[in-house]
Structures are given as structure tokens and as C-alpha cells.
Amino acid sequence: MSSASIKAVSGNTAAALGAALCRPDLIAAYPITPQSSVIEYLAGMIANGQLDSTMIQVESEHSAMSVVQGAAAAGGRVFTATSAQGLALMYEPYFRMSTLRLPMVMAVACREMTSPETIWSGQQDAMSVREAGWIQIHVENNQEILDMLLQGCRLSEDREILLPVNVCYDGFFLSHLYERVAIPAAEKADEYLSGSAPQDPMLDPQDLRSLDPLTPGNILIKYRQNHLAALQKTLNKLEEVDTRFQQVFGHSWGGAVEEYRCQDADYILLTIGSMTGTARVAVDLARERGLKVGLLKVRCMRPFPAEKIAAALAGKKAWAAADRSVSFGWNSGSLYSEALACAPKAAPHFSIIGGLGGTDISLGELSQMIDRLGAGQFSDGETLWLEKKI
């Protein structure tokens, strides 16, 4: 990556830089903690002449998504970012964005959902919209935020996919984390994205037509079938855009999941988001203690990489999944309840819930969970909470 510049930046700046490298035609957003500085940074780039893009200030997230939707339907490459209550307010046009098969990348600086009132970290926001038809990628560090903005752009605009992508990163633990990031040169990003283009215009004042007319169920069901088929294609397509990324930038992230020391492992810990970095260290320490544990980083929550997860868990003695969100319906974490649907039936398992409302998921806590996994100190199917002193 000789042409990259190495800088210390926050996760939000990494997201803004990644978005800018995609050269969006239009950006619309409404401020919300912890996302706000993404849009502030982009507004600064436009004001300084570093980015040629139209910034539209809107009065709400519902409007932000509606504006970018119109621009995407008119053939523009668009960007927005949000968190938590903002994502919730956006839901109506958010759902329509994917069902209209409009490509875009949106950054989500993940935040706990209110109530109780909170502004801090948690993945409940992203998990709450996982049945809205978007592709949902979760990342581990600031480099991966920037890189997945670029990969997401190429993925979403692929003519076999044509779906919007969320790049989700933990609020504060990444959005406000300062760390080293290699920022690629604009020409390199252009090279990576060459041949990729937004959706062909559906809205054109010279060629008037009706967009999204009332559609009877016998046709609508075809739309759903095609949408689901495109999402399934995403699992392989994610590897394709990553291979191309490797060719241009010299590093890659893997596809829908990444295995870390899984090959000879007896036990597997599934992770999602920034906790993965800490969990890698916990796995290394457990290995030094003689415990054969591996880590499965779930990068793609939607579509859910069921086959890959089943394959990684095949023949293992036990597994656990760590979540920064809850599944209200299943008395467990969200990733856990989904992994359960595809995991081999024989191996016992448990759910770990921690990091809610901005609390930390510490190295000590993950090490303790790994030790319980290895020692069989859990009841099959139970949920263990990483509770903090009050």
C-alpha cells in the first residue's frame, strides 16, 4: 500500500474518508451521537473543496433517507450515516430503499436503543433492522470501517446485487477510537471502483414514468424471491469484492466470516464488532494456557452466513456467541439466536450478552467466558450476562 498515507484518525473520520473516496454525488444526513462527526467531516471536505458532492441539510433522519433515496433513484451515488433513534426514525424509507433495490452505503455508528435513555454504545440499533432487506456488515477496527465503505460501494452496485449496504461499527469504542489507519490515495480508490456505477436512472424529467406503483401480491412475491436470491448471492460476492480489494490495496478482510485459530480448535467463540480484537487476545492467552479455542468473527449479519458458520462449528466440542445486543424473543443475544439455527446439534453452547449501554467488554471477561466454555461450566443453551457493578 505504497500510495496510502498513514494517519491517526477516529472511526468516524475513517468512515468519512471512506465515503469521500467513493465520490458520492449527494450526501444528506441529520446529526446524532455518536455519528455526527462523520457528516461534520464530510461537510468540511465539501466546504474546503476537497470533495465535489452536494450536501443537503435535512430536518430528520426520515428526510435524510428519503432524499438519498430520490437521488439514488435518479442514478446518483449517495451516502448517509446515522445511529440508534435516528435509524429508528428512518425505518419507513429505510425499508423501501432495499425493496426498491437501490444501491448505497450507509455508515451506522452503533448505539444502544432508548429506553432507558442512553447515548452510548451497543448494537441494538443495527440488530433491530436486520429484517429490512439491507446487507449488514459489522467491523472490528477503523481500517476495516474505511475499507468496507469502499467494498460496500462495489458490492451494492453490482448488477447481480443492487442492494443497500450498512457498514456497522461500535459507537465510541470505534467511532471515537483514535488509531492508525492507512488512507488510500484517491487514484487507488478510483481504480478499485472502476467499472462500478450507481443504479441506472429510474427518475428522469425527460422520460416521465411512475416509480413503485401499487403492486398486487402475485407480482410482489416475485420481488421478494428476487431480493432474497440477491442477498444469497452477496455471500460469494463479498469474497469477490474482497479479492479485488486485495489486488488493488494489498490487504483483505475475508468474506462473510473470518476464522481465527479455528482449524485445530475444540471450542469456538463467535464475535461481532470491535469486541473481536479483544477476543483475539483472549484466544491467544487461552492457547498459552493449553486450551484449544478459536474465534469466528461474523462480519456479515445480513445475509446470515449460515453455511460458513455450520462448517466452522462442525466437529467442535462446544461454542458460545458474544453479543452487544439482545434478542427479546429468545432470551439471548442476537448473533447467538441466529447461530443456533445453523449450528450442529450435538455441540453444547451458550449466549454471552455484554457491552450494553456503553459498558466495556473487557479482556478479563472474555477470558473468563473462554475458560467456562473449555471447562464445560455452563448449562446448554443458557445466557450469561457480563454485568457491571452498579
Partner: protein, 177 residues
């Protein structure tokens, strides 16, 4: 890896000074990261953050529980139990205070203590009570993971020359015992 926990009060520039350290270290082709802890966002309330320095990629994305170095921007924070929570025996304490070593009560497990009147230096050099750049000078004196010349350049780029003067004055005035 060196783990550093920073304690201060809202408005003292704790986050900004940590960012300057990370920028300096990354600029010198090494690794550093900083995770701020956000509580209530108001001037004067206790704030803290977690800084790590290493020669290789830092994978941890969690808080610091056993700091090698404590950087305390305000001596009124010494009475809070969490200030010294998990402080590693043999570690270093950098404290902004205008009193001497005998007058401050610090853990006896500390190997090195660096006292500096960062507030006084900030007031005299900057005319404002923002002690963060003076604290950086004291920090550079006791932490050899950060290059002092690079740090001064970064302070100049981020805050201007007057802040370099405050940092230089602290570097010279800090009492290390």
C-alpha cells in the same frame, strides 16, 4: 505494550492531548490508540480515557484496567477511589499539582512520580486554564516510548507555538522522584 489511563475534568483537554500523543507515535511509524470514556458532557465533571502504546498493531478494543502509567490532570481527583483502581505496582504517576511530593498522598507502589504545575504553566504561557499541553511535556519526560522532538512538532501543528512553550516549560520543570 504500555497502558496509560488518563484522568481529568471536562474542559482540560484530556482527549485532545491523547490524540496528539497517538498522532505523534503513529507519525513515527509505531502504534498507539486512545479510547475516550464519555460520561456526562459538561465542563468540570470527571473524564477519563485509555491510551495504549506499542511496537505492533494493537488489537485490544477495551478499557485499561491495570495501567502502567496514570496521567492525572487535576489533583482534586486523587480522592476518587477509581483514580488508582488497578494501578500496576512499579508504575508511573504524572500529576498536575502545585504542591510538593510530601504534601500529596499517592500509592506507595509507584516507582516513579512526576509532579508538575501544569495549570500554573498554562495560565502563564497561554493565559488560559488548559493544562493539557503542559501535561504532555511532563509525560514526554517520563515516557520514552514517545519522541519528544516529534511530540513538540505535533503540539505545534495542533495547538500552535505557545503550547509548545508550555510543554517545554513543563518538560524542564517537572519534578521526578
Amino acid at each position: 505494550m504500555k497502558e496509560i489511563r488518563m484522568h481529568g475534568r471536562g474542559g482540560q483537554g484530556v482527549v485532545k492531548s491523547a490524540q496528539v500523543i497517538v498522532q505523534t507515535v503513529v507519525g513515527d511509524h509505531k502504534y498507539a490508540h486512545f479510547i475516550p470514556f464519555f460520561g456526562v458532557e459538561r465542563k468540570g465533571s470527571p473524564v477519563y480515557g485509555f491510551l495504549r502504546l506499542d511496537d505492533q498493531d494493537i488489537r485490544l478494543k477495551c478499557q485499561v484496567y491495570e495501567p502502567d502509567i496514570l496521567m492525572i490532570f487535576d489533583d482534586t481527583l486523587l480522592s476518587l477511589p477509581q483514580t488508582f483502581d488497578g494501578f500496576k505496582a512499579g508504575g508511573t504517576i504524572i500529576l498536575n499539582t502545585c504542591v510538593n511530593r510530601q504534601a500529596v498522598k499517592l500509592p506507595t507502589t509507584a516507582r516513579r512520580v512526576a509532579l508538575v504545575d501544569a495549570t500554573g504553566l498554562a495560565l502563564s504561557r497561554l493565559g488560559r486554564n488548559i493544562p493539557n499541553t503542559a501535561m504532555l511535556g511532563a509525560f514526554a519526560k517520563v515516557c520514552d516510548q514517545v519522541n519528544w522532538e516529534s511530540l513538540k512538532k505535533q503540539i505545534a501543528a495542533s495547538f500552535g507555538e505557545k503550547n509548545v512553550e508550555a510543554a517545554q516549560a513543563a518538560y524542564e520543570a517537572v519534578a521526578v522522584s
